[in-house]
């Protein structure tokens, strides 16, 4: 009798999981679950951002820990503001240099009209997946989000693209996800001497995710010179992302005599600690 009871329970459990995994059921179950947890998760995400910021402040000002709080804090605030401004400006700068080039091309071919700006929807982060580099945002198919749309921050830093859409929520696959790979353009600083003087050199490569917020650059021809600190932006080649979005900067170039291409580590411009509000690009 007991064995029959156990088998019946096992059967029920297995059929429950089969039912939960059915195509039309699973997104609904998840959507329902997310809507229950959303308020708590939003609150925790905001508090986490604030607290981690606080600890960061402490670690940054460690030598001055016991000095007057007021002075140090305002210094930190100012520093934060300036950092933000630098980020915004580098992003803008890159976009402007892209635009300048585009403008020149457009002048040559007068028929083409001006390119429109992005069409954006505002989104809020709810949580991060434990094992992979994906985050959940509070926009879903109701708000017109579709799979494959790019996601950026307010500083025009590339975050990732939508990988799954539920009714009220969607999943964003971060650029550092192992499955993410796309074309990128390396903008070397303005050259003043040697070959190619007076112009920006352009190199194209492929940015791949490594997991755990790490990125690397692959398939760069060997003869191209890469330097630490070279800026990376998205290129229009793949058609996945709009061109000119900031990805990060080159950190460590790896050249090998055996391999045909060179690789490089990238320091991503995206920082999970600073992610709170995002924009989904619906049109570009």
């Amino acid at each position: 009798m007991k064995i029959i009871f156990k088998i019946a329970i096992l059967f029920l459990v297995v059929s429950l999981f089969v039912f939960l995994n059915l195509g039309p059921v699973s997104p609904r179950v998840k959507n329902f679950f997310y809507s229950i947890s959303e308020p708590a998760q939003k609150w925790l995400w905001e508090k986490g951002a604030r607290l981690s910021n606080f600890f960061e402040t402490i670690s940054e000002i460690h030598p001055a820990l016991f000095e007057k709080w007021g002075g140090v804090r305002s210094l930190k605030n100012e520093n934060d503001l300036l950092k933000l401004e630098i980020k915004t400006l580098t992003g803008e700068n890159l976009v402007l240099s892209e635009l300048k080039k585009e403008n020149e091309i457009l002048r040559e071919a007068l028929e083409i009209g001006l390119k429109k700006d992005f069409k954006l929807i505002f989104a809020q982060v709810i949580g991060k997946d434990v094992s992979q580099d994906t985050i959940l945002i509070n926009l879903g198919s109701k708000d017109g989000v579709k799979v494959g749309l790019p996601v950026i921050t307010q500083q025009k830093t590339l975050v990732g693209k939508i990988s799954q859409v539920y009714e009220n929520f969607s999943e964003v696959m971060l650029v550092s996800n192992k499955k993410s790979s796309f074309d990128a353009k390396i903008l070397a600083p303005y050259q003043t001497e040697g070959f190619g003087a007076g112009s920006d050199t352009e190199t194209y490569g492929i940015v791949k995710g490594k997991g755990n917020f790490k990125l690397y650059l692959d398939l760069i021809p060997k003869e191209k010179e890469l330097k630490d600190g070279d800026q990376l932006v998205t290129s229009a080649l793949g058609g996945i992302f709009p061109p000119g979005l900031l990805i990060g900067e080159v950190k460590e170039v790896k050249k090998s005599d055996v391999e045909l291409f060179q690789k490089a580590e990238i320091k991503p411009a995206l920082d999970i600690k600073e992610l709170e509000f995002l924009f989904v690009i619906t049109k570009w």
Partner: protein, 109 residues
């Protein structure tokens, strides 16, 4: 009396794992160390299984509930491994393995 206690226990485990899950996905994501977010759920499942009697079953139940929450939140970006039940299976295996080790190879006085 025994069963009501058991049910209470189960609810307590389920609820506390829900809180752990919320903390892990939304709060601890900001405190990653070199990109790694601490997996509170896995740690507590291992601890519970390790410190309860090998004949007890709250360790198994904690594996099921912890796995369930992670399943709910693990994204489709994982591909074929993102079905609901994946984490439950893995964590159940871990719990059973720990219980097996304790039963077979550890002597209690």
């Amino acid at each position: 009396m025994q069963t009501s206690n058991g049910v209470k226990n189960i609810f307590l485990i389920f609820f506390s794992f829900y809180i752990l899950f919320l903390l892990q996905t939304s709060f601890l994501a900001h405190f990653n160390i070199a990109g790694m977010v601490p997996n509170l759920i896995l740690i507590s499942i291992i601890l519970i299984n390790f410190f309860e009697k090998p004949s007890g079953d709250s360790g198994l139940f904690s594996a099921v509930s912890g796995g369930f929450f992670l399943d709910m939140f693990s994204g489709a970006a994982a591909g074929p491994l993102s079905f609901i039940g994946f984490h439950i299976l893995i964590y159940l295996l871990i719990a059973i393995f720990i219980k097996f080790l304790l039963k077979k190879h550890v002597r209690f006085f």
